[in-house]
Symmetry: T
Subunit: 159 residues, 12 copies
């Protein structure tokens, strides 16, 4: 039943294998970049709301890292070695490039809100493509659920 | 991509926004009432099975509270401020009104079993209405799963 | 020594039984409403101070819930089944009705500060009525102590 | 300020020293006996409610032991060596003598409920005698609070 | 709304009840057998990779046991008493019979990889049959997700 | 000093090796069956005492599983690969076959009490046969100690 | 196989039942008295070594209480309701009567060392009488092991 | 109801406000000094009882710090900013000045016992002045309870 | 090798003993004052950022207290009894005197930032003086590392 | 004393500021890349040693992430916003580019060993450049210490 | 009853005292040497199985250390001061001398397996000599049980 | 860059390799001996201060063991297999030989104080020799820091 091209076989129906693999790889790249961008802002932020923004960004980092591992290990479980290298992230991420300068808390809140929105946007598009594999579908829905919650929290800070 | 009427934007497709909002609000009201009813029975119960009924009711309270927060924060994540005030709960709950008198464990078991059934009934109806937003759908399925398990446990006590 | 009308007897001197029962019931209603109002604000708040206000409100919820259980179980311990149903809370609470719309952090801080003040006010009045039962007196003093501390913290945020 | 007859001095006003010492000693004896009686019943109980009665009795034991230590160390803190020996407990306890035979859960519930009532009765009488030392008064009020709660729980099982 | 033949009622639509019950029973049997086979190999394995294989097998046991309970309690929640007896497992399991002799780590890795594949195969078939009950569907997807991950890890060891 | 037929050597004196191996194998089979029977009853039980019986059965499962591993790993430590497969358990267990139907708590209590008695009976017989290996003897005594305690607790529920 | 006079049956061979019961009852009485004596000394001790003696006595109390429960529940497991009432302890204990006055650390060390020695002495005598029941024998050996260790530690303080 | 001069309002009746404020401020100063003195002795002590005195002093520090925060935050809760600066402590403390030289354990025990006595003395005087605010009264009683216990323990070491 | 003037000897080379002692004493005084100043501000702060400033100040207190103990115990380890009394702190601290009035969060942030800068300044000067004792040098470097990190965090809040 | 160009001031002597900043930035880039490379290998590895290599790589990730944060926050503490973006890492890392294909455990061990060596090499060179700031020097020494330990462990696997 | 030659008395019958003392001393020496040998191998091991062998050796160290303390404190409990000095271990150990050079994992597995076998061999011989003291006998049986289990695990790695 | 003679390479500059290796080996031997001597005294001590000396010695053991592992693994990290065998410890330790007889607490305090002094003496000498490798230097400084603290604590007990 399981198909196998490399060392690891897959239980995903053959006709869905490619869509699932592509969705996992693009989400992986966004998640790694989200963790790097959130860490960058964690260090760069200054301003009256420094403390709570600095801390809330580390929650984004923690979630992005956890989901990165889950998505990558779903890729291996369907027989594909994911690509999470710096140059691949730099080339393929859906997120805007961040600045590395010190930045005000207001600006940082805008940047992370947009980064979350870009991540969710591609996740929701991917969810629609992976219906042929309910396991992958379920994983991406769970990730979007958490990031939509975080997106509200960051948007609320700018309201 | 995200629609926005108030301070918080939504990633739910516009045509599903209303159904999703309504489902979350009605489930929220039932969950709050369930937590209040279960606490009321936790205090009112007397009889030979007092100890285990008293304790099992607090598990219902704990689950109802956890799910209340998840449902309400899903509402905010889709741009809607949920309404969890006492008067709204009193007006809109799908649960029967409980008594505030001391009551026998047999009666208390019947009341909480019916309260769980009413909660599950509206949850299952809501699940069918929110298919346009897999995140909300997944959340409500998870809640129904737990309450159907608890319903069995309370029904078993009356068998 | 213990008096008994229903299934549970009381060690409170008979002449103080009614005052003690009334004080516990009115404090119970305020505490439940405080937990519902604080949760409502926890969901509705937006603005620059979203994060810390959102979190601090959950501390109010947690304390209100703990004290609710202690007050209700003191009522049962003096032979009275407390009434903590939604409609009773809606009818008898000393707190002002909250709004269910998204609200700025400034406004939310004012609303929760007033809710705490209303709770403390009735608690302090009740403390003066229950001197005939040192156990109930001690319980209400402990609750007021914590809420006066929280009241300072919320007032400080508005200073 | 502190009075001293033996190796340890006391901060209790001299005119209240004797009342305080007597109240602590009599409560100590009851608490030790309560812990022994509850353990005895913990072992002797049989019947359909064995499991929950067996476990609930161990909670009584745990509370009685904790309060025993607090009362005894309050005695030392007012300069008096408390007497918690088996023969003193056997001679001075306010509790009825228990049976050491296997006993039905119904009977065990009656026995522990009466033992709690006897403990509370002497505690409440002692509270009225120790007003001259607010520290001791506060301690005894706290103990009565817990035992009145437990008394309700055991009475509820017999309702 | 809920259908009921025995002591426990079901919220699954009547036309899906039989398919759901059958899927849960067959998965239950496989999960119990998987836990027994993995334990058997845990004891029988010898060879250079003894330590890590011995430990990794206990993770399979732990997961299989957790899922066993979840699947069985889902059966009771839909009104069916599951059958997890040794003779039923022996008769109905989809897994190949294991040997009880000491075996090399290479062989053990092959056996457990095949056992996981057989479990996943029937799980995926069952997932397609239970679409009429989203709660059961969600449960089986979650189990397959974990076992597909473990299958990769065991296959990787043989690569 | 150590004897060795397969890959693992034994420190048990050669003349006691066979008796020790046989005792461990028969106890292993009973322990696995006990864990399966107790789980079966954990799911099948209904009735007024559902909650405490359901929970107490899981304690039997937990103990049976822990002892299963200890007995099986004692077998490997004396150079024998134990046999814990479903078909062996089904064929060789000393326990009566359980029913898989929903059953009243009264009946479930009788069944588990008898299962414990059958387990203890063969354990005590085995203890007398393994005196030549004090390590195995000590292990079986410890298991019997725990099950005799559990047997009392279940018998007490039926008294 | 199991003999039964009261509600609980016994797996101890009939000819050893009486010796086992007697040994458990006498050890129980000593253990309860040891816990009361050690607590008494815990409160009465004064002197340069107050701190460490006060604390080390509480370790004796904790161990004595744990063993008390194990011995009493071994009695129930062999079908006998143990007798742990204050008057029985007062009458049957092998320990010397302690004083309830404040006492120097030197004296307290002597008293507890003698109490431990008396406990061990009867334990060792009982161990020789219960060889017909290896479970009880193993339990008493384990208790003596711990008290002999504590006896050394107290004797070392006086050296 | 609440009075307010600065940014924070008070629920203490106006006629008791001054007495309550003064009592809290003087207790605060003593508590800070107690923590500094106990730390000083923690470092300065030498002698045969070094280890236990060194450790027991850190318990005094920990308690004094906890109570310091509670007293100071009670002051803010009644609308008063407490003064806990080094120069205020140095000027207003009721405790004798300690030495900063290495000191024998005997001397250190005398010094800390006197420091505790001075703290308790002013606490007990303050308790009598704050009866108009039961919350503050309860707080100071709780602190005195703990320090009277510690005073016994230190006095016992010198006996 | 170790030099010794008082009861405790030192492993610091004799020619560096005085510089090391002086550096430790001056840093000790600053650290105690920093803990007192941070606590004072913890109580005095009011304003929109009350919550996060109030909490962040307690982290400064915690670190200052931990380092205080480490520095003082390094002094004892080099044979010197440190002086941490209120009057010494009041006289020798390098920190500016704080106000004890309620103060806005803006002002509080400035005051604690300056207090940290003053502490770091003397620490860095001391580091240059204690090169003859690498143990003390390492300790002071570690303290400066943490306070420079905190200084950034407080400065960032004012940016 | 502290120099300041942007929003954050520095306590590093002005003449060492540039060297310290450069050292921190280059080490940061290597650490981020090390965490990405180790995660990549964590996913790509297959072969007989899969399990232990897979797990040991996650330890490298965890350490690299912790050190990344410490180095970046040391940069902010000296007034410099570090640059940890994907494109910077991709451009400036001292590590060789990894492959994203499935790879044998032997090859993976070689790659991670070389990545650790490259990291250590630049760390050791940086340590020699930052002697003017003992805080930064101490931080980099601590990082090298851990990576040299890990380097041994990976080299040992290839021996 | 207890015999006493030095400061500590013994409850072992006088005729068994010498055999018990000798058995404890020889087992102590082996256990200390086993902990030193296992640590030596923990550092010296290189090769493909480095990671799991390195870690498994630390489990041997941990067990050997725990048993060392139990055996030595059993010696003191029977009135004998055990001898655990390096030169005694070097002279009297039953284990072969290990090499201190780097060694392949294959060789290390052989060496530790032999060291465990030598330890078990003397333990089993000692168990036969100490039957006159059931406490010591029980202790040595428990140690042998654990080491026989470890011996199987190491032997399995070489199979 | 790294030099390599055996299976493990070193990042220590070649000209410092020998000094670093020698320093680590000699410190290792002292640390192992310190752990053995402290354990020996832990068992041998008797006298009025038995309890606190017995416990404080186990802290020395714990620290010595932790540092032993750190020093030995630093040796492997610089390419050298350390020698921690009993005979090497017995031959090369800088510590005086201890007695294995029961000894008074006074004497034990003298012996452990001297053992710590000898350990520190060689550590400080080694620190001066390993300046060419800052990682090793930092490790030895950290160890000396802790032992100088412990040395003060033991010396204080003899003052």
């Amino acid at each position: 039943m399981a198909t196998q091209n490399g060392p690891i076989s897959s239980f995903v129906p053959a006709e869905h294998q490619e869509a699932v693999s592509a969705a996992l790889q693009s989400s992986l790249v966004d998640l790694i970049d989200l963790s790097l961008v959130a860490k960058q802002l964690h260090w760069s932020v200054v301003g009256p709301r420094f403390q709570s923004v600095h801390e809330a960004l580390d929650e984004v980092v923690a979630d992005a890292r956890t989901f990165t591992d889950e998505v990558a290990e779903r890729a291996t479980a369907v027989g594909v070695s994911p690509d999470g290298r710096a140059k691949t992230v730099s080339a393929d991420s859906a997120l805007d490039e961040a600045s590395a300068e010190f930045a005000s808390d207001d600006k940082v809140i805008r940047v992370i809100t947009e980064a979350l929105a870009a991540t969710i946007k591609r996740l929701r598009a991917n969810i629609e493509k992976v219906g042929g594999d309910p396991v992958t579908e379920d994983l991406l829905i769970g990730i979007s659920a958490r990031f939509e919650q975080l997106h509200w929290m960051w948007e609320a800070k700018a309201a």
